[in-house]
Symmetry: C2
Subunit: 326 residues, 2 copies
């Protein structure tokens, strides 16, 4: 089977991102090790430009556009993190960006996206299809649509977070037993695991989703792409995708990755733990892999475990509610 | 003039700390650059083990004890960050630690220090002298007192944060125009600036203190060590030292460093900014150098500025108050 990306594509993306993206730290925390009885390494991707890993894929994708495509501008649809990643990458590369965002996206994400110079168009997440809204907004302008995950350059860009994790673990001579990755459409998971399994073929991989958005988990269990229904709700706004992508899913599936889920309260507890003990701001949808570890969803005692805080763009009200009440 | 430490002592400390301390990232933030009109690099030392830079000096100091001294155990007096640093370093090195802490230290700091296995003794910050309490507690037990800043191994250990900053700036080919460092007793400032001025002799250095705890600023202005009075109050609990140290002050003074101060509200605003935009938890006393930049206390437009978030051990109530109200 041929996959949408290889580890070489991730190395190529890493070259594009050198001195452009933040090389985020892989953090080990005493309290977390004590709780788990093992060693847990957290890729702190909330420290990435725009506050999430999405900048990596967006910049890699936009940097590959032809001069003529750059002239036409780009359009993206996103709940907020891809929005900011594309907006900032476009700003750095001098490209005009239009972003379609759900009207109930966190205010912080809407404001930040506009702050990076993008035009923002909003829609109703529960009654409108965002790809249709995007097509309507684009019209016949020739604007280049930048998909959130189902694109090889996006996937390879996100994979650089996995490549850095591999390099940091090798530097200290460790082979991880398992890794957990937050999963919406699978852009991060497909890239991350392409790099991680290439280096550590005996790894046990997990993708983590909100309970009601378990489309990837069910897809992995059935072997075919499954979809969530419109009644599903979660505070993990970054992970509310209806199904894994046609390009991302085969990679995740063939690695033998397992799907697990966490509740909204488990995500809230992880946001609180990160702020209190790890000194990091995480958003609910960016912290589900840490939440799964803290909630004991995987066996960690005596093991070396990797997870990721993939985003930290949380509204202050939500953030402080988590810190005080969880 | 002979100083208590040289840059070689910092290199030696860095060897002790390799693979023991976190090599914390030097973070550049788009929003911060926009606000300042320059480039600002923040050493994110809140990501250090125990949530502050204090682990560096404590581990370097304790690792130099003889087997016989280790057997006798260590005693430290601290408002909370040095406490945790010593407690954790002692835990790693198998040394018994007793820590004298003010009874009004943040609950998070008291709990964490106990969590690292130390015995904690409390005292009244405003009516008792902590060095006397330490001497009384020590009695004739032969315990080794680990001072918070006035010690060459402590100072050299803290200096490794400066050495890493030098290395990271050189890696991207930048020479900073200015650096701002949070200052209590001057352990961090003396070490940090020993490394920074060695690499960048034309640097403009600043030490930043809470308004009512401006002992270092006044000491620099008069040329002699000045002391604050017992009526001074600040939320910056990590910086409530009465005067700079006899070993730290000559280094800070002879570099030509300037003292500046920030109000408690300016510190609160910086805690909020760090949580919202930089995705980092900072404590008031650990964030005054960033606060000074955000409050416009130094000229930043068109300049390359370095500062530090030196600690993130803030109680949840204080943290959320800052995020919501500043």
């Amino acid at each position: 089977m041929t996959y949408a990306i290889s580890v070489e594509d991730i190395h190529s993306a890493a070259e594009r991102l050198e001195d452009v993206a933040v090389r985020t730290p892989l953090i080990e925390n005493v309290q977390l090790n004590e709780i788990t009885g093992g060693r847990v390494f957290v890729k702190a991707e909330c420290l990435q430009h725009t506050g999430s890993f999405k900048f990596r894929g967006a910049y890699n994708r936009l940097s590959r556009l032809s001069a003529e495509e750059k002239e036409r501008g780009v359009l993206a649809f996103s709940s907020g993190n891809h929005a900011q990643g594309v907006a900032r990458a476009a700003q750095l590369l001098g490209i005009k960006a239009t972003i379609i965002m759900p009207e109930d996206a966190p205010a912080l994400k809407l404001a930040a996206t506009k702050g990076y110079g993008a035009d923002v168009v909003t829609y109703d997440r529960y009654t409108e299809d965002r790809e249709e809204v995007a097509a309507t907004t684009a019209g016949d302008s020739g604007v280049v649509i930048v998909p959130p995950y189902n694109d090889p350059f996006i996937m390879a860009g996100q994979g650089t977070a996995g490549l850095e994790t591999v390099q940091d673990l090798r530097k200290i001579g460790l082979t991880p037993d398992q890794a957990l990755v937050n999963c919406g459409g699978g852009g991060l998971a497909s890239g991350f695991y392409t790099a991680m399994y290439d280096a550590f073929p005996n790894l046990n991989g997990y993708v983590v989703e909100p309970e009601e958005f378990d489309d990837v988990k069910r897809s992995l269990e059935t072997g075919d792409i499954q979809t969530i229904d419109f009644n599903a709700r979660s505070i993990c706004d970054a992970l509310l995708t209806p199904s894994p992508g046609k390009l991302t899913f085969p990679i995740i599936k063939d690695k033998g990755v397992t799907g697990i889920t966490v509740s909204d309260d488990e995500a809230r507890a992880a946001v609180s733990f990160a702020a209190r003990h790890m000194k990091l701001t995480g958003e609910p949808g960016g912290i589900v892999s840490l939440a799964a570890i803290l909630a004991g969803k995987v066996e960690t005692a005596g093991k070396i475990t990797v997870c990721i805080i993939s985003g930290g763009n949380v509204d202050p009200q939500m953030h402080t509610d988590c810190i005080l009440n969880f």
